[in-house]
């Protein structure tokens, strides 16, 4: 019996042979085993979903909660803190229901399409500055270190009203919070404590001297029923935005650029027709075969997915990346089609918990790609695509580095 059919547990995450390609296992699971029993890094068992319709259904169904602290829920990792999915920060924000919606809507006003258009020139200017520095360094250069990693930290620091001089500290805190393997637990704890202290002092400073930033506005904003955010909520909101918005976007800038350069015909097509940038970004998001863990969910009642009974107490893992390669949902799913439209991919999830910062992520990706095409039309990989290496992490997937020349 093949792994995933019940006899032998498939280990999750499923490794892939290449940095940019999907594991071969996905296609088999989608076809023959849409609800696959898997063993998580903790050793606990979960059910893996890989089909587009199933993943979208579960992510859109509020009965599937994010309450992974239930007694019988599977633990994702066996690290003491349980990693980012169970952090103290995650626990200080409402995780579901009305409280979650109220919190989300107070923050969402900062991510509207209009506001994104207003932010775009500033983001392009940041990308220009980082590329200037990369040009000064000369090639070959690691595009991840020079551009992809710093850009989203700069954007988030601006959003939070954090001075430029503290950007490096934010980058470090973000890195320690998400890299479950690279740092010792004591380093992670120390970084978390430092970050929480910094944010508490920062919130206090914004109370006395408000600026034009998200935190300053949230301090005085009132939600439905006159609700105001507590200091703990404000601190956790700032932390959550960094954790959710930094490494994800940083890695996606790297992977998107790598995808477009791995077969340089894609890059040349974009050079010839810049109007494709928007759909190209969506397609890169869909095509990303290494986005990280996926979305774990817990179901508190018996239910059915793909004609399979999921008993109460089941932890499911939704693989949005596998779903995004589902041939029944996307014609030519295995091909990167830069003009695909509409592109209802699930890279940002779906339903009430779909990525809050998705409009910002899109804007950063579009701005970066536009500036790269404009400034470095001769950009190319400095190593064969087969030599690109995956970042070994759990929460967010990416490339270790992206060596380029121009």
């Amino acid at each position: 019996m093949a792994p995933g059919d019940g006899e032998q547990l498939l280990s999750y995450p499923i490794p892939s042979d290449t940095a940019l390609g999907p594991p071969a296992e996905w296609a088999r699971l989608r076809q023959r085993c849409p609800v696959a029993k898997v063993a998580l890094p903790s050793g606990d068992e979960a059910s893996l979903l890989t089909r587009y319709d199933d993943v979208k259904q579960v992510l859109s169904d509020p009965r599937f909660t994010r309450l992974l602290n239930a007694d019988d829920a599977a633990r994702v990792s066996d690290s003491e803190s349980g990693g980012v999915f169970n952090s103290a920060m995650a626990q200080s924000l409402p995780q579901g229901g009305e409280g979650h919606q109220r919190w989300r809507r107070m923050v969402a006003r900062w991510f509207t399409a209009k506001r994104m258009s207003a932010l775009r020139p500033g983001i392009e200017a940041m990308a220009e500055r980082l590329i200037d520095a990369m040009l000064e360094h000369g090639h070959p250069a690691d595009l991840k270190a020079h551009l992809a990693f710093p850009l989203p930290v700069w954007v988030i620091c601006d959003l939070l009203g954090v001075p430029d001089s503290d950007r490096d500290r934010f980058a470090h805190w973000s890195d320690t919070l998400l890299n479950l393997t690279r740092y010792q637990q004591s380093e992670v704890d120390a970084a978390q404590a430092e970050f929480a202290d910094y944010m508490a002092a920062h919130v206090a400073a914004k109370r006395t001297g408000p600026g034009e930033d998200l935190l300053s506005e949230l301090i005085t904003a009132t939600g439905p029923g006159g609700h105001r955010m507590s200091d703990a909520e404000l601190v956790a909101t700032g932390q959550a935005l960094l954790v959710a918005g930094h490494e994800t976007t940083a890695n996606m800038i790297g992977k998107m650029t790598a995808m477009l350069l791995a077969d340089r015909r894609h890059w040349e097509r974009l050079l010839a027709d810049r109007s494709l940038v928007r759909t190209a970004v969506e397609e890169a998001l869909r095509f990303d075969a290494n986005p990280g863990f996926g979305m774990p969910r817990y179901i508190g009642e018996d239910t059915e997915v793909a004609d399979t009974l999921l008993p109460r107490g089941t932890t499911v893992v939704c693989s949005m990346a596998a779903a995004n390669r589902d041939e029944t949902a996307f014609e030519g799913a295995g091909e990167l089609a830069l003009d695909r439209s509409p592109n209802p991919h699930l890279a940002f999830g779906a339903g009430a918990h779909s990525c809050l910062g998705q409009a910002l992520a899109r804007t950063e990706l579009q701005a970066t790609l536009d500036v790269l095409l404009r400034r470095l039309p001769t950009l190319e990989l400095a190593v064969p695509a087969a030599e690109l290496r995956r970042l070994e992490g759990l929460a967010v997937g990416g490339l270790r580095e992206l060596p380029v020349r121009w």
Partner: protein
């Protein structure tokens, strides 16, 4: 074409505004969808269908 939106389900992704800004907008206070034109003209139909397809909350319904 008749369009309806479900403001309770809306997650403020802004995707509908990008796809069809003559038909959809977002509230300033929380980014929730506002329907500007519940019966869009035929030449906007494709954009509106696009908006409904990419809405992550499935909050846009279309009746032809």
């Amino acid at each position: 074409m008749k369009v309806t939106v479900d403001q309770d389900r809306c997650v403020a992704s802004g995707q509908c505004v990008v796809a069809a800004m003559e038909v959809f907008d977002q509230r300033d206070e929380d980014g929730v969808v506002v329907l500007l034109d519940p019966e869009p003209r035929a030449e906007r139909a494709e954009d509106v269908r696009h908006a409904a397809a990419v809405c992550p909350a499935l909050a846009i319904a279309i009746e032809d």
